[in-house]
Symmetry: C2
Subunit: 361 residues, 2 copies
């Protein structure tokens, strides 16, 4: 049923005047052209290695795709970029929500570009598959960095599993490096598991903390504390300065309880105020100290080689599982066996064997 | 060369009289007969469900074997025993070396048999593949329990992986239950990972501790503390009694910092002296409290059903990996790819894909 009356009415409204275009038609044409033409893997490699951020974004989108063609193309791009990669430092940054991570990354990133660095910010956030990239909201909080010619910010890939998200982030690192970014910051949300994944892809692990957080909070972070190469106590400003200094002493004591690190590095504690941009240079100095030490004693290269091997095996194990659990025949049989196992009709091991026999047939 | 001289000498020794047999020839014959005859799966099931400990031991040996025929037979036995299993309580017992685990298990086990229980003691100790079953040494320390008609002690299975050892232990539980053991104690060494494996196969998790252990030690056990349903402070005897009481208060406070358990159970702390057999009845009372509560609120059954499902998936994942990594074609290719990945000649993901392509072909 049409809502428009055919006969004229007292309430008839005249058509308004035509609105002027708010978007330049040239831009629209350019975007449409860009969308139509799918650059080849070689085109992407050439553009990325020239420092083209648009090409970088497109390639990362390919990495994040689940389309088999895209995956194959993404692999070609990564392989082509690999010889240009690895010439960077990779820094993991974590901390519970509210600690001021975005403000810190904004201040730290701006400091780095001010001393001539090219900075890429990536994120590992498995929860983003629900919130559709929580870092996107944060982007507005990194207002200055986002506009910086020498910075590149990419929200977290979404994915069903932490493994998937982590894999995509790690592949994105390679592309960012090939694109000329020499300092890669990888942000993680403070939920426990993603920190371990990030730890296995960075050279340096920075834990952002607050002074005077309760005991319970500290407990949650114990495992993460153990991974930290540097604890930065943020919000050391105003009335908080004394509390932050006290916290620094406490953290220093706590860190000494952990066993010696393989790197030979003694984890440090420092204070900063990201909002007032105080102590940021100090953070960078400490990180540089770490890198000169671990590059000299060989740990830097050993760790990267071990990480590569870890990701090789992780990827294999992940895909073996995917291949099994996504097999339609298996899916049905698995459901039946799960029920039988729960009701103690079959032992979990016998059920597993039955499923595997079917799978390998 | 014979050491016996042919010609008589001044040093000639006469043959001694024949020694009496120290082993009864009937026993030898029985053992030899037993070794010759391989009882069928059905024989084993029949004997086990009648409470025959020798049959139980033989079946567990089958479980621990890597011979495919033995594995198949073991599966048959487990399947046949399954309807008779699950009528027990399964208690995990952990604690760092030196805490008095063997003495505690001896005292606790003897207490349980004295009140009419049938007790099986199993162990998960992945390190035993190196030390060839460290619990064997402990057996001598469980002198009384080992001789107890109503107790059964089995050292840890050896195996290359924790997963393998844990799987074997879990299957052994089923057989012990079918054999009439109603209280299964599963011992674990305090190394971190095996506790998680044990936690996923028991109904109740008991952490044995000492008063006045240093801060560092407490740190290591934090994750394990979180799993504990009951913390037992051992060696509360002599000069130690006051210290143990203090520790009890401290542990109680620490336990309250952890989030509420799904079971609805508030973890308890108690003291005991295993060597003086004091407080053992108290431990058992607390455990019984736990069981009445979780059986009433349904948690007991839910947890077992979830554990079954966990082991189904764990076994599948383990075997998928075994099948891949033990493939001779893959083994060679994997070595090559590991090197290439370490030298940054290929990305870990591309290498994984290449290996998987070959595998699935």
């Amino acid at each position: 049923m049409s809502l428009k009356k055919i006969h004229p009415s007292a309430l008839k409204e005249n058509d308004g005047i035509e609105q002027p275009e708010t978007i330049s038609s040239t831009s629209v044409q350019q975007i449409q052209k860009l969308r139509r033409t799918q650059p080849s893997a070689d085109d992407l490699i050439a553009s990325i290695t020239k420092g083209d951020k648009t090409a970088l974004s497109r390639a990362i989108t390919l990495i994040e795709s689940t389309n088999p063609e895209h995956i194959e193309k993404a692999n070609k791009v990564i392989q082509g970029c690999l010889p240009y990669a690895n010439k960077s430092v990779r820094i993991g940054i974590t901390g519970v929500p509210g600690v001021g991570k975005s403000t810190f990354i904004e201040a730290f990133g701006k400091y780095l570009t001010s001393i001539g660095k090219k900075v890429a910010v990536l994120a590992v956030d498995p929860s983003s598959s629900i919130s559709h990239g929580s870092i996107l909201g944060d982007k507005t909080r990194m207002e200055e960095l986002v506009k910086d010619e020498n910075a590149y910010i990419r929200p977290s890939a979404s994915g069903e599993s932490l493994g998937g998200v982590a894999r995509k982030t790690r592949e994105s690192i390679v592309l960012c490096e090939a694109c000329g970014f020499d300092t890669i910051l990888i942000e993680t949300v403070g939920v426990g598991q993603s920190e371990t994944a990030v730890h296995s892809m960075v050279d340096f692990f920075l834990l952002l903390n607050l002074a005077g957080a309760g005991d319970e909070l500290q407990g949650i972070k114990r495992g993460i504390m153990e991974m930290a190469d540097l604890v930065v106590i943020n919000k050391a400003d105003g009335d908080n300065v004394t509390k932050a200094k006290l916290a620094k002493t406490e953290y220093n004591r706590a860190l000494h309880l952990f066993p010696m690190k393989n790197s030979g590095w003694n984890p440090k504690v420092t204070t900063c105020s990201a909002i007032e941009k105080l102590g940021i240079d100090n953070v960078w100095e400490t990180i540089q100290e770490y890198f000169s030490m671990t590059k000299a004693n060989g740990y830097f290269d050993t760790k990267r080689a071990n990480q590569n091997q870890y990701w090789l095996l992780e990827t294999i194990n992940d895909q073996l599982k995917n291949h099994f659990y996504n097999n339609p025949q298996i899916e049905n049989l698995l459901e039946l066996n799960k029920k039988a196992v729960q009701n103690n009709e079959i032992s979990p091991f016998a059920a597993a064997q039955e499923l595997l026999k079917r799978y390998f047939k």
